[in-house]
Point group: C2
Chain length 458, copies 2
């Protein structure tokens, strides 16, 4: 047990400690595989059992951070010593800990590129490696892939609802930890946002950092107009003013007196639909047709859709809490399941049969069928060696621990996501999720599953 | 713009980059305060406007990480250079960037200790510092304090519903990022969990790491019993077996044949109430009365409460997704608002009046009243210099940038949280949140607010 000092702990994740940022049972099983010589080459697949509530499609994200993890994973001595002295591990031989100290991921990774549209029961990531390596990485991969996928998918809905108007990520403060804020900014950008308020993400990824002032700026002055004027002096070409601190209409009138140099105004409370129309008239009467209106304040895809239906003259939407927590569906039921093992040169398909939690066995591929205009027609989940007149979604990413995939920039991932979504027929993009996209299972796959089912129930 | 390399980016938060893990507008406002000589000593308070859905109380957490942030915050040159070259900042004088390079937090922090029970509109953290310092820290503080508070509060409900049975955090894989997993493990421990599956958190905080095997362990064998036997050999004193991979009843029968060395079994699917009773009978008939039953699988406070109402003989509950995402209420409406500024030696109370978003002005304290048996009677939110026969909840933590508070261990924070909750009358702990705890505002505070309201509406 490490001694507690008076020093505050930041609880950061870093490349040294990410190995043990995992569930204990991954390490007990690793010790078990090692001791019982069960370290067979194993294949695990990551998929979502069921689409979350209010979602008709998902958009994959997080692969870049998963790659970082797999190609940098290790167990530094400090942590191995900690494990070794836990009473739980007292019967485990020292050889296992020596193995852990030298651990590197040497397996293979297949995955769909970030930005890929996908559906329930479609593997988006497949790992083949010795059981210990394939097992130990489960927790971190799920957390990284599922969170970013959750947010990219939500952002995609929000952006779709905005019908071409800009959506900006304003969610950092409400994300589940500072790291979640950074990842949400990345994921929502892939999902189609034009930028983020998060400076670190903007710096790291070269995407636009967006933001101007908060209520506290205005409240710091005795006089609202003086606060506007001062801000305009410091940021003469980027003056977007928050006008709802005291009264949005008066705020708009004051902002309008700034004149042609004003770039935009932001509404953050009240009846946004009504206020935006009044504010637009105030700006237009002052000859400020070019001044943009940004709206924010607990927005989501439903509210944005409703605002646009009411013809609210809003040019961009700042979306925070609802997007970065995926508030209506804050968790993805992502799982990582053993589907095949190689024992004495034989490939053995594997399947879990717990009530309501049945999965499909064997190494799989997702085949996507397109019509002539490249619209998605259907997907077939099948074995890896099937031949279809379709596109195989899972690509080779890492082979024997070595990266063989040129990681796209997030700008490219965003473009790829946009193209994907543009090829998904409209009926599957409706906010009410009325229609399910057809995902079928190939005959060969169904046969293996039925055979296993019979064997297990005999 | 930083150049993109072929290298995958981990997007970790660390002590170097945490300064810019913030909203851009904090930095534009900072530049504005600097340029316009508006860097007045300012007081901001962090509070929750409204209790989240299904919550009748909250439990404060995250202060330790907030202290780390405030006492280590800086803006390294790399990031300052990045800001300086953004087109947005092109009219900002170099002096501001020189200031940023030397930035340290020199202000004062008051806060309630971690584990404190609190309610809507009660400040749990108060910062007094030059405007730039007090402003720039908002985003990170909100993200750190609100997430941990959200999870500690949810965990407190879950633990309360378990009526003395053990609750363990199993949520790392479903948390919103690896860092969220670590913070959730910490926060849920403060909320009353007995331990966590997260090894890094257990290592860092000296709390119990808990866990045994997953379905993949069993699926790795041709024979379920052989998989149990092997695991028992490696962990002879810690054999908790997962029995639902194929059939929970058969699994229980096989596990029972392990005999007296078996420590526990885990059920993860199906009708847990019914299965736990059948499994208990199987174990008892085998003379294994001491073997514990753990239940897991999308549990929450309602399901646990229902299981116990049905007298399910479960000894401990592993809770994941529902707890670490606070799934029924995944965001805390925490805000950080300017309440007072000192200008030319005068203290000026500040208040925002946006529709539905009114706040109380001036530096405040929360006074908690107790009855003779130390049960909470009511709270009064008042000015800092009021005299009440009550306990003042906000304590001095940092003065002029220096830590003056001995940071309690999480073990102490957990104990403090337990004591707090034990003094909260039962009617305020009901899962259905039927009754609201009385939080009043002092006469002096209401008078200041009314005076400001009059001035603002004149």
């Amino acid at each position: 047990m490490k001694n507690r000092t008076a020093q505050a702990k930041p609880l950061f994740i870093n490349s040294e400690n990410m190995g043990i940022a995992t569930d204990l049972y991954q390490l007990t099983m690793a010790a078990g595989y090692f001791a019982c010589k069960q370290n067979h080459t194993s294949t695990f697949e990551l998929f979502v059992r069921k689409l979350p509530q209010n979602r008709s499609y998902l958009v994959a994200a997080g692969l870049e951070q998963a790659i970082y993890y797999l190609t940098n994973l290790s167990f530094p001595d400090t942590y191995v010593q900690y494990l070794q002295q836990l009473p739980l591990f007292k019967n485990v031989s020292g050889d296992f800990f020596t193995y852990l100290r030298k651990f590197r991921f040497q397996g293979d990774l297949f995955a769909v590129p970030e930005g890929t549209t996908f559906f329930a029961n479609e593997p988006i990531l497949r790992v083949t490696a010795p059981a210990i390596e394939a097992q130990i990485i489960e927790t971190y991969l799920l957390s990284m892939i599922c969170y970013q996928t959750l947010i990219t998918s939500k952002a995609s809905r929000v952006v779709h609802s905005a019908q071409g108007k800009e959506v900006i990520d304003f969610g950092t403060r409400r994300a589940h930890s500072p790291q979640a804020g950074v990842l949400a900014a990345r994921a929502s950008y892939i999902g189609g946002c034009v930028g983020t308020s998060n400076v670190l993400t903007a710096y790291e990824l070269g995407i636009p950092a967006i933001g101007t002032i908060a209520h506290s700026w205005i409240m710091g002055y005795e006089n609202e107009f003086k606060s506007f004027e001062d801000f305009q002096k410091v940021f003469p070409e980027n003056t977007t003013l928050l006008i709802d601190t005291y009264d949005s209409i008066k705020g708009a009138q004051l902002a309008a007196t700034i004149g042609k140099k004003l770039k935009g105004v932001r509404l953050d409370s009240g009846n946004i639909s009504l206020l935006s129309k009044k504010v637009r008239r105030i700006l237009d009467s002052a000859g400020l047709q070019q001044v943009k209106i940004t709206a924010s304040g607990d927005l989501n895809e439903y509210k944005i859709s409703e605002l646009l239906r009411k013809r609210a003259p809003i040019d961009s939407f700042g979306v925070g809490t609802e997007m970065v927590t995926s508030k209506d569906s804050p968790a993805l039921n992502g799982v990582y399941k053993l589907v095949e093992q190689e024992v004495d040169g034989r490939l053995i398909p594997k399947m879990k049969c717990s009530e309501d939690k049945v999965s499909y066995p064997s190494k799989k591929q997702v085949y996507r069928f397109f019509d002539k205009s490249r619209r998605f027609k259907k997907d077939i989940v099948g074995l890896t060696d099937e031949v279809h007149d379709a596109e195989a979604l899972l690509l080779p990413i890492i082979r024997s621990g070595k990266l063989l995939y040129p990681i796209p920039t997030v700008q490219k991932a965003q473009k790829f996501a946009r193209e994907n979504i543009s090829h998904l027929p409209g009926e599957f993009k409706r906010l009410d999720c009325g229609t399910s996209y057809p995902v079928l299972f190939s005959k060969s796959l169904r046969e293996i599953k039925e055979r296993l089912n019979r064997n297990l129930t005999v």
